[in-house]
Every structure is written in C-alpha cells, then in structure tokens.
C-alpha cells in the first residue's frame, strides 16, 4: 500500500492542476442536456488536445500511454477544479482497442477519444433488457455487406452519436449468446432512424434506434463472428466502474453543494442532519478508495471481470444516497434549486437500472463471485 504519488505521478498531477486552473470554464455546467452536451464536449475536446484524456490508451491510437493511476489522478483533479463532467463514453474505446483490426483501430479510435466522433452502444432491445442474450436484431451477410434489421433501445446519447457499437444475431441456429456478433454502424447510413426518449426529468439522454435493411460493409464487423457476447461483457464491465465513466468528481461536487444547502437551511448545528451528511461523505470516500483498488488491480493490464458488479452497485448506492439526502434537505416547496435537485434525484433512479439492473448485478455476484448454485426456472 502506498497512496502517495510517485515522482512521476506527482509531476503529472502538478502539470494537470496548473492546466485546469487556467482552463476550467468560469460558467457553471448547464442543467439542461441540450446546453450541457456542447459545453461538456467543448471542454473534453480541449482536454484531449492538451493531452489529458485517453490517458491509459497507447500513443499510437491517440492516447497518452500512461496507466490507470493517472486516470485516477485525472478524476480527482477534475473534481477538485470543479471542472465539467466528462462524457461517459470513454469505455467504448476499450472494445475497439482490444478487438478491432489494425485498420479499425487506426480509423476509429483516435476520433472517438478526441470526441470528434461520438459513439454509442446498441445493446438493449425492447424484448431484450436484462436478458440481453435474447436479442433479436439480425445481421445477414449479402456479398460484401451485412444487412441489419432490428430495434435498439436505451442507447445513451444516441441522439448525439455518429457511430454505434451494435450487437446483432448472425447465427440464428446457435443458442442464445453464441450466435451474436458486434458491428460498427455509422448512424448516417440509409435505413437508420434515431428517436430520442424523453426521460422523467425532461432530458433526452437515451434514444431508440430503428434499423431497417441497413447495409454496412463486411469489414465493419468488430472481432470475429460470434465474438459479440465477449465484447459486450467487456464493455459492460468497464461501464460499471466509476472512474471510467467520470462520475466520481461529479458526486464530490454534489456532496459539497449539499453542504451548502445544509448550511443555508440553518441545519449546520443539527445533529441528525450532520449525521446524514457524514454518512454520505463516508460512502463517497468508500467509492474513492474502492476505485483506487480497482484501478491498481488493472495496472497488470487485465480487463475487469464480474467483480465490476460490486463497483456498479456501490456507485449506484452512493448516487442514490446523495440524491435522497438532497430531497430530505430541500423540503421547502418552491425553494430555489428544489426542482433542479429533484431532476437529479429522478435521474439517480436510473443508476440502478442502466448497465444491468441492480438485481442482475446481484445475480452475477451470487453465482460468479460467491459460487452459489444456479437459479432454477
């Protein structure tokens, strides 16, 4: 154990801190996604140009060739500088890097990391949510093309995306997850229709994607035929970590704002309120330490496995606890900020659903980490 920065890490942190002090925008993050998206994207483009994102990707694909600990430092320093939230899409570069051909990596990875091209993931379907392996979208080979028909849903940032990492069934005779392949689908291809889904908080962060006879070149398959499930599991394991998705600094900002709310409500000396705040603060510290442990384990280069379900359940619990506290504190009807906190609270309810519901995460832990006997039908 040594949580100090090494000499190199310390230099990296100092340079980053200096850069952030000069480059974090003065205007705060807009509450509405339509305004927040260009704000986040513009900041991330600047971060990338200055060499502060895609840290742990190799330099030949547009990364910085650093390690997971630099990712942890980035996350901490973004929070400290009250910087805009990172687009939670960094994990989508992982499968391209791991399974992509030389040509695919060269073509797609750098623009993805630079956020010049926005990616989304086409996994869930109306009839394939938790049971992802039952997906029905089909890809049929016709000459040098794949022809794709189907319907994807719950695609994060689908309305903003240029490319979709899409799962489709290529072998209808294989059982369930064995017949699935992964594809790179340009969303401006004829036959693709993207329709935003309006969430309860009014935002259009998710979308449906309809694919109607969509033709893509044969070389747009990622990995080998039937690699789709493996690729999908890799993606969700990365997606379940809090550092990869940039949520840690956001939660730290929420906690500090809740401290201000508590003071403004005249509850600064109220023991019960302080205990509530302290409990959430402890939980956030747990998340920070757990992320450090997870990232340290990744220094060896191994991708995350089923233990990432612990990270996901923890991250969700911290977010929902923060939001529950906000609703407890901002109780005066019509008080300033109440509606905004309520929207964040509503969004927090999604945390235990997307990326595999909290119940699916528990199934994974029970069977794959604890070795409990398989559930029977």
């Amino acid at each position: 154990m040594d949580l100090r920065d090494s000499a190199e890490e310390a230099r990296f942190r100092a340079r980053l801190r200096t850069w952030l002090a000069e480059n974090v925008p003065d205007e705060s993050e807009p509450a509405v996604l339509a305004e927040r998206w260009p704000y986040m994207r513009a900041f991330q483009e600047r971060l990338y140009r200055a060499g502060w994102v895609a840290l742990s990707y190799p330099t030949d694909v547009g990364g910085q060739g650093l390690g997971p600990m630099e990712e942890a430092i980035l996350s901490e320093e973004l929070g400290r500088a009250n910087a805009p939230t990172l687009l939670p899409l960094g994990h989508l570069g992982r499968p391209l890097h791991r399974y992509g051909s030389e040509e695919q990596r060269r073509r797609y990875l750098r623009p993805l990391l630079a956020v010049e091209e926005i990616w989304c993931q086409g996994f869930s379907e109306p009839e394939a949510g938790s049971d992802l392996a039952s997906l029905r979208t089909r890809a049929v080979r016709e000459g040098e093309e794949w022809v794709i028909d189907g319907h994807k849903i719950w695609t994060s940032y689908g309305a903003f995306a240029d490319y979709c990492l899409l799962l489709a069934r290529t072998d209808p005779d294989a059982v369930r997850h064995r017949g699935i392949s992964a594809f790179i689908v340009p969303l401006d291809t004829a036959g693709v229709t993207v329709r935003p889904i309006v969430l309860a908080n009014g935002e259009e962060e998710f979308a449906e994607i309809f694919l109607d006879g969509v033709r893509i070149p044969a070389e747009n398959m990622l990995g080998e035929p039937s690699d789709g499930w493996r690729i999908a599991m890799d993606v969700v394991n990365y997606e379940r970590g809090a550092v990869e998705t940039g949520y840690l600094p956001k939660f730290a900002r929420y906690l500090s704002e809740l401290g201000e709310v508590l003071t403004a409500s005249g509850l600064g000396a109220d023991r019960a309120a302080r205990l509530r705040l302290g409990r959430v603060a402890a939980h956030l510290e747990v998340l920070r330490m757990h992320c450090l442990r997870t990232l340290s384990a990744r220094v060896s280069g191994a991708p995350p496995g089923p233990e990432s379900s612990v990270d996901k359940l923890l991250m969700t619990a911290v977010e929902q606890e923060l939001m529950d506290l906000s609703i407890e504190l901002v109780t005066d009807v019509g008080s300033p900020g109440r509606a905004e906190w309520f929207d964040r609270y509503l969004y927090g309810r999604a945390g235990s659903i997307y990326g595999g519901s909290a119940q699916v995460q528990r199934n994974i832990l029970a069977e794959r980490m604890l070795g409990l006997p398989r559930q029977q039908g």
């Binding site: 040594d2 302290g278 747990v286 409990l372």
Partner: protein, 349 residues
C-alpha cells in the same frame, strides 16, 4: 500509487490465518466466554511469539517496526475467526497512543514483550450532543473509567489532560455488563483524561479507528462465509436454498459490504499512518463509520440466511454480531466519525 497488499503482507495474512484457524479448531472461540481467560491467554501468547502484537512498536523499543497496514491484516484475520483476543485495544489502539502521544518507552517495550494493556475508553469525555462532539477541539476534558479489551493484570492507557499518553495500574474494578461476550470491558476508578487535540493524539485516534475497521471487516467476511456455505448445503423444496434468488441477493449484498469495507479499511490503513493529519482523520473516520455499520448489517443478514439456527445460543452468529456492535461503538461512539466528516464539509463552506 499502489493499492494492494505486498507479498510480505499476503504471507502475513496466510500465516496468521493458519495459526489462528488451527488454534480455534482445537478450542472454539466461544469457550473464551466461560473459561476464565485460558483460551485468550493461550492465543495471545501465540500472537506474541509471532511478534504480531508488537507490529506497531518501533524497532528501538523492541518491536519489529511494522506498519498499520500489517496490523490491519492481522486484525482482519482475527475478526474473520472471531478470535477472542484484545488485539484492537492493545496491539493497535494502546500501542498507537503510547507511540504517538509520548507514552513511556518502557510501556511500549512491555507491550512488545506481551504485557497486557487496555485502552481506557473516552466516549464519556465530552457531551456527545455538544457543538463539537466528543472529537472536537473544544470538547471538555473529563475522566475515563472503562477499560476496553480488558484482560486480567492489564495496565490502562489513557490520554492525560496534558495530552500525553499515560499508563495506570488498574486496581480491582468491576466487570461491565455489555453486549460482547469475547472482548471484555471493566470499570475502574476514574482517571483524568483529555480529548485528542494535538496532531499526535489525533494520529493515534485515526489508527485506533482504522484498526477497529479492520476487525469489523474481518467479522463481516466471516459472517458472509458462514452464510454462503450454509446456503450451498441447506436444502428446502428439494434444492439448495442458495439457488433461490431471494437468498442469493442477501448474500450478494453482504459481499458488496465486505469488499467495499475492505477497500476503505486498507486505504485508511495507509492514510491514517502516513497522510497529513487532517486527511488521516478524515479517511480513518470514513473507515470506522462505514465498516462499523456494514459489519452490523452483514452479521444481521448472515443470521437471516442461517434461519432458526442463527438465533440460537449454540451458533456463533450472535457472538459475531455482539463483537461487531462493540467495535462499532468503540473509540468515541459510532456517531463521532460521521460528525467529523460532516463538519469538514460544513467548515469548507
């Protein structure tokens, strides 16, 4: 940055696990509640021989000069086995107080050699409802009278009003009837004491909190292991109950609590010893608050999975839950760490 146990620490973990496991296979932990201290003394001398009790004692005072992380590795194993020894009170809390708050060198040397020391608990020092809480810099001084992790012949260690760790001969006293049957408390004539104010005393407090968190993590891990093993073997409706989703989710929740407590505890084991004092206190507070609540939750859930047997005197589940509650409440009470964390945020505004 490196967040992982070293090879040496993994070896320490393995050896401690084997030694304690063998000792308690021969004589179950529960016998310590009634054997007049025989098992406790035997196990303690084994730990002394292996130099595990002296880990926090510096080399110049006869210790091996280990780290708090080393001591937490041992405490976690002891918690997993529900070992009835005063490790957190003596080898971590008393040792840290003696080492950091200017305690007499002879006492540290004595502790390294296996002499028993108890920590005089400070939870009654300050008005817990006061504006600063028991840990605040302006909390009143007072007196302490309850020795934590007491064993026969132990000397007491407390922070005297001048902020120095002081040892006391403890005469007679009377057994305190509290919840834990394996870690004892004893009431003595009060001695004057102060809240931890100076950086050194606060460092000792942070280390005591972290040591308790390590024991609590081990207690929870043992409860999880007991429950999952039972869930694999116990059949109802012609199948193992561990194949029912309702039971699986209870076990998964326990696993999340155990793994996250472990992350928090080992992070704190480094920070409490090495980080600047404010950071050390903050991280140790999070460890104590979180691991305490998590261990109580996990021990309760384990009883639920065990069903009827879990609520009998015969099963160890209640002993584990009792030990969890005592350590959750130790060193200033369960609320002190949370109030400290809250006040850090509020001061920043």
């Amino acid at each position: 940055m490196r967040f992982a146990l070293s090879d040496d620490q993994q070896f320490l973990q393995k050896v401690t696990d084997e030694v304690v496991g063998q000792a308690l296979a021969a004589t179950p932990a529960r016998s310590a509640a009634t054997d007049g201290g025989e098992l406790r003394a035997a196990l303690w001398s084994t730990l002394v021989e292996l130099d595990l009790v002296a880990l926090l004692v510096p080399v110049e005072h006869g210790g091996p000069g280990g780290s708090l992380t080393d001591a937490c590795v041992v405490a976690e194993v002891l918690g997993r086995h529900l070992a009835p020894v005063p490790y957190v009170g003596t080898a971590i809390a008393a040792a840290a107080l003696l080492r950091f708050a200017g305690g007499p060198p002879a006492a540290l040397a004595g502790l390294a050699a296996g002499e028993p020391y108890s920590v005089l608990l400070d939870q009654h020092l300050a008005d817990p409802d006061g504006p600063d809480g028991p840990d605040g810099p302006d909390g009143p001084d007072g007196s302490v009278s309850i020795a934590f992790d007491w064993v026969a012949g132990a000397r007491g260690v407390a922070l005297s009003p001048d902020g120095v760790a002081t040892t006391y001969e403890l005469a007679a006293g009377e057994e305190v009837d509290d919840v834990d049957l394996l870690h004892r408390l004893r009431r003595f004539d009060p001695v004057p004491a102060a809240a931890p104010r100076g950086d050194d005393a606060r460092r000792a407090r942070a280390m005591a909190w972290t040591g308790a968190a390590a024991l609590l993590t081990g207690l929870a891990d043992g409860a999880l292991a007991t429950a999952t093993e039972y869930a694999r073997q116990r059949h109802q409706y012609q199948r193992p109950i561990g194949s029912f989703q309702a039971v699986q989710h209870l076990c998964a929740d326990m696993l999340v609590d155990v793994e996250t407590s472990r992350s928090m505890t080992y992070g704190a084991s480094w920070a409490a010893e090495h980080a600047p004092i404010d950071e050390a206190m903050r991280v140790a507070a999070a460890a104590k608050a979180y691991a305490g609540a998590a261990a109580v939750r996990v021990c309760e859930t384990s009883i639920q999975v065990l069903g009827g047997i879990g609520v009998t005197d015969e099963h160890d589940a209640h002993l584990r839950l009792r030990t969890a509650h005592l350590h959750h409440a130790a060193f200033g009470g369960p609320d002190a760490p949370m109030l400290l964390l809250a006040d850090r945020i509020l001061e920043g505004n």
